[in-house]
Symmetry: C2
Subunit: 304 residues, 2 copies
């Protein structure tokens, strides 16, 4: 079977809806490549290009990709194998009424800084930053409500989570037949928090392998990511306090699935290792994760 490429040029969405129609269908276990366009779709190409407002359609997500056999209650496993930047420059921007410091009078909104790619680095003026690509928006068809690709929620979406990078595995609840995976809004580099509202926005090619975990022994309400060293629950909500409460609650459920613990014991243990991390504080809902080192958790979706 030749490797399928799904491209934003033909197949992209600006809204995760319960009734997404598939652009492509992947077999369970199939590896494919997803081409993504920068979140501003080429509108910002020089420092004098400024973003006067957030576009109505932004964060184009390539897809959706139906995965054969995925049915509601399953878990979709996405191995992120490689992310290659496909432009020779990215861009970091501010826009009015957007970003952590949007009310600061001494910060320019809008402002643009183009960031050339040089080998494995991004150039910010005379400072080099290593390329560490991040998939900003990645998710599946939601259960009942629809979400713009600018919004993160239980289906994923605009999670802006630095762990969505090559070498890690993301897990999503399957709410609709086929799951309907879509992704985009990639960055060549991004800080936890994404304070100014963007990272280095850039086009990419992403290699993934998709697997359906049927009838998982642990149910999943929200996204989860597995890195080399940790499992991390991911939750989005109106405030960081609420998102933290949800992510911590999800982690407690995973700890209870591994250990012979009451909920209170899982709660106490969650307060001792790993901990809360910030994904982003700038989207319409904010995103927090709760990490636990892998040695304390069995693979919730491993062989029985």
């Amino acid at each position: 079977m030749s490797r399928t490429t799904v491209s934003y040029t033909d197949d992209r969405i600006y809204e995760f809806t319960p009734a997404l129609e598939p652009a492509d269908t992947a077999a369970d276990g199939e590896s494919l490549t997803v081409e993504t366009v920068d979140s501003l779709e080429g509108a910002i190409q020089k420092d004098t290009d400024r973003l006067q407002s957030i576009p109505d359609e932004v964060n184009a997500a390539t897809g959706p990709i139906a995965v054969a056999g995925a049915t509601p209650g399953d878990v979709l496993r996405v191995d992120i194998e490689a992310i290659r930047v496909t432009e020779d420059r990215g861009r970091v921007v501010t826009a009015p009424a957007f970003g952590l410091q949007q009310d600061a009078a001494d910060i320019e909104h809008p402002f643009t800084r183009m960031t050339p790619i040089d080998g494995d680095s991004v150039e910010f003026g005379d400072v080099s930053v290593p390329i560490q690509p991040v998939i900003g928006t990645i998710g599946v068809a939601p259960a009942t409500d629809s979400y713009s690709t600018l919004v993160p929620h239980d289906h994923g979406g605009n999670l802006d989570t630095t762990d969505m990078t090559a070498g890690t595995t993301a897990y999503f609840p399957v709410f609709q037949d086929g799951a309907m995976l879509a992704m985009g809004d990639a960055k060549a580099a991004m800080a936890d928090g994404e304070m100014c509202g963007t990272g280095v926005e850039i086009g990419t090619e992403i290699d993934v392998t998709l697997d359906v975990v049927s009838d998982p022994t642990v149910s999943l309400d929200r996204p989860l990511v597995e890195t080399d060293s940790a499992w991390k629950t991911i939750a989005s909500a109106e405030t960081m306090e609420i998102a933290a409460t949800l992510a911590n609650r999800d982690l407690m459920a995973l700890l209870e699935a591994t250990h012979d613990w009451e909920t209170t014991e899982a709660y106490l243990f969650s307060s001792l290792v790993g901990g809360l991390e910030i994904s982003q504080v700038v989207d319409p809902l904010v995103t927090v994760r709760n990490a636990v080192p892998k040695e304390y958790l069995d693979d919730p979706f491993g062989a029985a």
Copy 2:
């Protein structure tokens, strides 16, 4: 000069006030040892000891230690050289109306789990967690208001920041003559977030060296910590969003001191590397830090 030991048995405070009287005076550059008692002062010694409410006096901080020559506008540098646990067991607890999940009906408040120390590990039931000590409360005399040792603010206090550990250096603004350093509330292990409201609370001996940075070229409004790999600003506020905004603003000032950047450029750059981290979400004010890898920042208090 023999090494001075300052102990909680003689010298402890429950409030950081502007007019603290020194328990001891250290020379600029002096190394000393600080003995701290567990945050609950021995009240919890077995699983059936429960914390019915947060005590009026809690988080005893050993000190205060005046540092000779420190005057307002200076910066106090605290090299944390070693933290030794001094009990054979710690404790993790919940208490009513306290902690991230305080409203959850399925979590017991109060609840206690004693955690024996075994070599380099803490035992939580049959799970071993490595000892990674944290100084929960550390700070100096504040500028104008007084703060219970349960509260974190610009003077430090109950920062509950995992980076306050052996091998790192903490910096505090000097608001009063002598700075008046005090510390306590140590943990043998703690997650970022301190979700249940405590880590493994335990008594410790802490070795520190204290230096005064006179007339710093960079002024400091809030605490700062230097780890092996990063500089991290630390801010406490009523919400995580506000704390994040302050910590990010403090980091921008440091970036501007190193690079020839406008504030807007420092803001964009802060969105590309390192990022926001959560210290704790359970104290009367919450605490967030903003990290930047060391290669992007000159030592703000290094030799001119």
